[in-house]
Symmetry: C2
Subunit: 329 residues, 2 copies
């Protein structure tokens, strides 16, 4: 048994907490500590033994004490700024998920990682990540076919924020729900043309301000351009107690379905799906598995930026290649 | 664009025919020919332009004319004998699927491939193959969990043969059906303990010999030890016309479900499934995608036996790494 892989966590929100928990479930890893921009004494980790340090200490004092640094900041502001710097000192894993900006992000992280013989795994998680792998499998295994991605049932932060800005709304959440009809059409092998709004509808749970008119609020929500107007949208009014009791989790998930033909007569369907009670905890668990792969890639001199598409499955497992062939193949 | 990858097919049954068709759907590949133990003139390929040669010519005349040889023989007799020989002269891909014998088969193919700087992809297909990858993903991404494999709806050759040996049976087929109840239990995150027979039932379609007694035949089938006695088995009597019309295809598929917890409170479920109208055509299509990976691994000096667990997804795709990051990630 090799020594443990020493992990650092940079940034401590929901995702960072998920990584802290996930490391407990992987006996070949040990957590060096959490690195935060807040005052370390103000942070309460999930486990009493977890060390908390200032982010400033990271670059100066920890570059030879951490095998893989997991970046748990946001894609909008944190990662584009942090990742190129950290990738010059550490092997890194992050969950950068702004799909359209991945090529430029890749380039920005690849150069410092290569120059310093580090390995930087970018855009790890489930979408991008596991869903990307399954979109690739679908195309490669059934070249004559169509790929469909459905999201949900999932809590959408952006749409929940939009609801909360409606006058008369005290609180609320929005779930994106994949259309059962559309999924069944795709599973049948029919290869329908479907837009995002054909594939999903939107369920809102709203707590009204005292005295607000339910019909007016509902009308404002369902007719909101971009967010709801083009979708089949349902508005449910609930009490504040119910909101707190039933809508605290951050569920998400979805489906990647490839429908294709291997010959004119023969249809084939490949489906991958996730049903996640906690989106951040699952994403964190994926990051930790890819930290193992990151460490191994670096050990074999595979430097620079890598994505989930570049990682052989065996590199994710704690088991030896012999065990994998015997037990899982 | 690189030159085409030159493919040879060794063995021409259902799987070999599937490979011949699949190559047509992959524009970066060209088929050198089919190699058969039968008299080449007795073989009718699916496409008029396909060349057919004697298996004897393969080792002597084609070792520098083929980039990847796809072995389409059976796992019981053909592959254990052929693969070590072919792997000393060619890069190979095969679908060896006797799970319990994979470690010894791996060793037998690895040595000659390594010694001759060839790459031998073994046990490619969907189980072993894509299902193995998903069993690995499940364990790695949710270490605290259980993995469930369900097979079907699928035609079982062994059970169909067993039916046809029953006195009074003229013809028949058997389908393995995964239990909907068991799948729903697993999807709920309950982590039940389930044996193979809890997870599947067996549907038989039988054509009686003239004058045979249906009740006796049914009783013989459902009480047959090993094959049916322990299972919930249904026997349907049909006409020979119906058998030919409705039961000619070779459907198969199944589900790999991982149910796990990322923390005490949070359940997560990962599911991969296949619904295949033609088992041999899909397996063939997988073999062809892995032939691309086999060629690329060999080009980068990665010699010896490899399994689906050793292949980074990107190696399967005709697209460049840049395209993959932009379009699929």
């Amino acid at each position: 048994m090799q020594n443990s892989i020493r992990i650092g966590i940079a940034g401590y929100g929901n995702l960072g907490r998920g990584v802290e928990s996930a490391i407990q479930k992987n006996p070949d890893m040990q957590l060096v500590g959490i690195f935060t921009r807040r005052s370390p004494s103000s942070v309460s980790p999930c486990f009493a033994e977890t060390q908390v340090y200032s982010m400033d200490a990271l670059l100066n004092e920890f570059s030879d004490k951490i095998d893989v640094l997991i970046l748990c900041g946001g894609s909008k502001d944190d990662l584009p700024q942090q990742a190129p710097i950290f990738a010059s000192k550490f092997n890194t894993v992050d969950s950068f998920d702004t799909h359209a900006r991945i090529p430029e992000y890749y380039a920005a992280v690849d150069a410092p990682a290569l120059a310093n013989k580090k390995t930087a795994m970018i855009s790890i998680g489930w979408d991008p990540g596991m869903f990307s792998i399954n979109r690739l499998f679908g195309e490669a295994l059934l070249p004559d076919g169509e790929t469909y991605t459905f999201w949900g049932k999932g809590l959408s932060q952006g749409h929940s924020d939009a609801i909360r800005r409606v006058p008369g709304v005290k609180a609320g959440v929005q779930y994106t729900i994949p259309s059962t009809d559309a999924i069944e059409q795709v599973r049948s092998g029919a290869r329908p043309e479907l837009s995002t709004k054909d594939k999903h509808h939107r369920d809102c749970y709203v707590v009204l301000e005292q005295g607000a008119d339910a019909a007016t609020v509902e009308q404002t929500i369902v007719s909101m351009p971009d967010y709801f107007a083009d979708y089949n949208t349902t508005v449910n009014f609930i009490s504040e107690e119910t909101l707190l009791k039933d809508h605290e989790d951050m569920p998400h998930g979805g489906f990647v379905i490839r429908s294709g033909n291997t010959s004119d007569a023969q249809k084939q369907v490949i489906e991958f799906s996730l049903k996640l009670n906690s989106n951040p905890e699952f994403t964190a668990s994926v990051l930790v598995a890819y930290a193992r792969a990151c460490y191994r890639l670096n050990q074999t001199q595979q430097y620079g930026a890598k994505t989930a598409l570049d990682v052989a499955p065996a590199l994710l497992s704690i088991k030896s290649p012999e065990q994998l062939r015997e037990e899982l193949l």
